[in-house]
Symmetry: C2
Subunit: 264 residues, 2 copies
């Protein structure tokens, strides 16, 4: 049986590189579907077209994505022995919402040569703060589809007690505890509240311009330990870097996004 | 008068989003043009099409790029009030060498809100090691077009004395000391030897699969202080993160690439 995440990212091949899909209700922030979620829909179509999972994908967000039917047009730029490079446009009618460029490849596990970094030091999943309900203040609907847990203290920005450092760590899991595949990692990369909310800067929202995710390994079963951090905010722009680690302590994805930071 | 870098990245508009250009000889590593250099050619065409400089660009490298004529086909996905999102294919004949997706926008300086990081601690430019000549061992031809200078010690990998840490820092300058514009930052992001060469791992070459550059500000005149670092190498893949700082101590670009690491 398909997990909820598989269902809400399912695509139907129409031929000629065209796929139909549905942006599900409830995966949004104020009526605009989460960026990682719509990227996941596009990536499902891209993966279906070449029969391989994503290795590195970049999404540029052109317009807000309301719930409803959408189409993904996939263009294969090159399909080689090991990798395939593909573009995709996710559209509603004439309106392109997301433009994606990615290279897709089957994983080729051969061992870790260098690991200068480690998972965040988190209390057990059950001791962390449920992102969707534990704190008052605005909670985006998408947090009810997930079961992400924040490090104690890292949700304090919701009650006017930011940590003072632009970092948020916690566990990522799907609401139905469904498996997290390579495409689930794209969702995980954009599923936490913006790290800058803990900086203390007056920031109300942080729309993503561009999101790049590198899939470094397929996760072992279980929640992912994640850290998101913003180091530089200037001229109305910030980057946010993410790391996702699986239950075996292995780095499974890195992400970076460039987002707008309208002055609060 | 055009600087050498402007000349070797010049594009001629042919109409309909098509541009002609030339991959110049001498900007290569073993006959394959440098990834930042070919990205710069594509970005010139993209910038010309929308009249704005790059803000965030991602290049996927599909095939080696020998010197010679090339074409860039630019497709504008959306051109709005502030930003334009554009795709481009750089081709030689039927062969796509580089596929690019970018968002272009004029800078909107409004001040620094958060800066958790600082330029690398480097000796003055003149005291650093000329990347092209100071050390024996293989030096890619492109280093003769630049005047990059490495932090003393960081070139030791060429003589069998890597630092043991996958990091390389130094100054970036063009060979003729021409100005570094937003497109020059794309070159700077890929102009240093791979940081992993200092790790001590047996790595002979590191072909780039994907390179993303965020232009965070237009540089003040003068060489750029740069740091490149690899933290994770596993399963034949590594990431390399770069930071570029201008003479005023301002972060002007961040880069990340995903590269193959064939076992040495």
């Amino acid at each position: 049986m398909a997990s909820e995440f598989e269902s809400v990212t399912a695509v139907r091949a129409m031929g000629g590189g065209r796929y139909e899909a549905e942006i599900a209700a409830g995966w949004d922030i104020g009526g605009n579907a989460n960026g990682g979620y719509v990227l996941a829909i596009a990536a499902r179509a891209m993966a279906a077209e070449v029969g391989r999972p994503p290795l590195t994908v970049t999404a540029h967000y052109l317009a807000p994505a309301p719930a409803g039917p959408c189409e993904v047009d996939v263009e294969v730029h090159r399909s080689g022995r090991r990798t395939a490079t593909i573009g995709a446009s996710l559209r509603q009618g004439d309106r392109t919402l997301v433009q994606v460029l990615g290279t897709f490849a089957d994983p080729a596990p051969s061992g870790v040569d260098l690991a200068d970094g480690s998972p965040p030091d988190l209390p057990p999943y059950e001791s962390c703060v449920r992102a969707s309900t534990a704190e008052p203040g605005f909670v985006p609907p998408i947090q009810d589809r997930l079961d992400a847990r924040l490090r104690p203290g890292d949700a304090g920005f919701r009650t006017g007690s930011p940590t003072g450092r632009a970092e948020i760590a916690g566990w990522f899991a799907l609401g139905d505890r469904g498996p997290i595949d390579a495409i689930g990692l794209l969702l995980a990369a954009d599923a936490f509240p913006p790290a800058v909310f803990n900086s203390g800067l007056p920031v109300a929202w942080v729309p993503t311009l561009e999101l790049t995710v590198h899939v470094r390994a397929l996760p072992a079963p279980g929640p992912l330990a994640c850290t998101f951090r913003t180091r530089f905010a200037a001229d109305g722009l910030l980057e946010e870097d993410g790391e996702m680690w699986d239950a075996d302590g292995r780095l499974v994805a890195q992400s970076r996004q460039l987002a707008l930071m309208p002055r609060g």
